[in-house]
Amino acid sequence: MKSKLIFSILVMLGIGLSSVSALPYYEPASLVMFPFYTVGDSNTNLILTNTNNVEGTIIRVTFINYFDQLKSVSCQEFNQDFYLTPNQQIKLMLSDSLYTGSTGFVAVTAINPDGSLKDFDYLAGIAFISDIQVTPYVYDNYNGIPFKKISNNPEYDNAGIIMFNETYTALPEKLIEDFYSTIDPEYSTTKFAIIPSEDPTEPNLPSYNLFSFVNGNVNMEFENYIWDNNEYYTSDYSESETCGLYLYINDIFNSRKTNSGWIEFTRNKDATPGITAGYNIGGIKIFTDLVDRQYLGVSNLHREGYQQGKLRISNSPASPSVTSLLSG
């Protein structure tokens, strides 16, 4: 009703929907999320750009491990700060700074010198992936997922809390993607890597922030609904993970041969103990195919709907080496 009332007021004031603009394009933003990185023989190259031609900014690049093979731990967090001058672009080969064998996701945020979150919708980012965990090896790049800053709230910004749908643009309600796969992963497969958020409307659930992931005590359940090319519906395939989901489509189709279709990822929203509610931030598909024409590729998952969610990054002051560039 409210939207109708707003619309009526806009019409009364002579402001039609023609003033509305929404672009189905990637746009620069204050937060750029990369759902997947890998380091080692497989590797990742991030390219981050400040598209503002007059103002520089500090950025905080936060890495969250799904799993670190060398250290045999998961859900660890590590961050680095950089200063980007106007129009500057930097390239980060992750093998230069992360352990071989680590895999996870990356959050790139614009921050102020005191570590608080900054409204700076000028960050663009892409990730190049080489993944030799699959055969044939996959080489492709994907754009980081942009989240714009839509309001400032010191309570959240100073604490490093990203409030999707409140201080940043919204999360999707669902992630959806087509896939192409056969039962035998030696011939073709599709992998999905998905990152979750926490639901701020469920205060009784475990802590939402990334630091809780360090303890590995947050279980998250994903419910996946799958339609194949005959519109066959597979219900309620669930997967529990800690700080991210890493899923082979072949693991789902373990008893039935199929070759294409689409999949829908939703977070389990039942507020049962030990299972967090919340929504997915985003994800990517990694695809390889030896059977057909040997296509390979990595792409962001499609998204639908709008939801809120929460994510926290470190709010410590920016590194002195970076802030010194500001005064210099």
Partner: protein, 371 residues
Amino acid sequence: MAKQKEVNSKRLLALTAVLVIFAAAAILIVNSDENLISGFAVSEPASENQDYSPEYSPDYDPNSNIQAGMFDNSIPNTPASILVYPYYTSDASNIGAKDTRISITNINKNEAVIVHFFFVNGAENSPRTCTVTDLKQPLTPGQTYSILVSDFDSGETGYIIAVAEDDLGCPISFNYLIGSANFKNSQGSQGEYNAFGFKSYLTQGTTHDNCVDNSITPTANLTFNGVEYEQAPNMLYAPGLFNSSSISGENSQIVFAALKGSLLTGMDNSATYSALIYDQNEQVRSQSLPVWGCFESVAQTTLNPLLPTTGPAWIKLTAANNVPGVGLYMHYNSGTNTNAFTGADQLYGVCTTGGCINTSMTMPVFPLTGN
């Protein structure tokens, strides 16, 4: 006179009351917990009979995005009524090395739709022909459909526009289509990208351009103006390009596809863009580009002289004559550097001062049986 005064007084009082109520309503709206700034009030119903509270997970109503879109220009990869695949290629004599697989999915679990594919030929004639070949494909609820381009438009290179339409061939609002493409080309580039999706602002099922059928409206306009379909930007960014002489050894390529013209007689062939190129040291240089036409694949040989050898660079492309488009940036490794990365993804798009670009395309209207 006293009576007239009393009437005037009552009128003034009534007018004041109306203004107070109006102001109070406005304050209530602005101060509501579902505030305007957040834009995506999750409990905001988009229609009378649907609930969008977080606890209820309905089948997606993409039209609810539109209102939200007022505050979020950053929503790539969402279901839409028109999909644009900026690049396809194939070689009939060597489909193992050069081909494209297009996928499209109807994520509506209850309603079928017909998709009208238009393959725009970007062959580098002088001038480009920009001619169009088409294909219709019904999609049942939940269906995924894939096609190898070599099976339909073999030996050609260009881009594809897929339009949701009804049984009579009229374009309709049906924001439930997603798509992706895998390609391999003769330069050695390969990768996967998502199609650009342009949502309709009309009520689901409504035809665009008052289309009725081909006896009354043999053509229909697809208008990207923020009222019928989403607009297009006047600036595109290629966020990471490499000189092939740089240490990482990648080769880069940009592909552009115009969103203007006729899907019946040929697409507009006049797109003109200017470029600003920024290197890692923030050195900027401007570059006039030749007329791109309806489709352009800017090869490494053209880009190399513009790009620094010291590292990546990025490019701003500004539409000079209001012909907007979509595009990809691509990379491939033609050398022996095993550290070189390859791949492709969508160009960024932004509306700078002056706003987004309104554009339109004309499409033929005919029923599926006339395919």
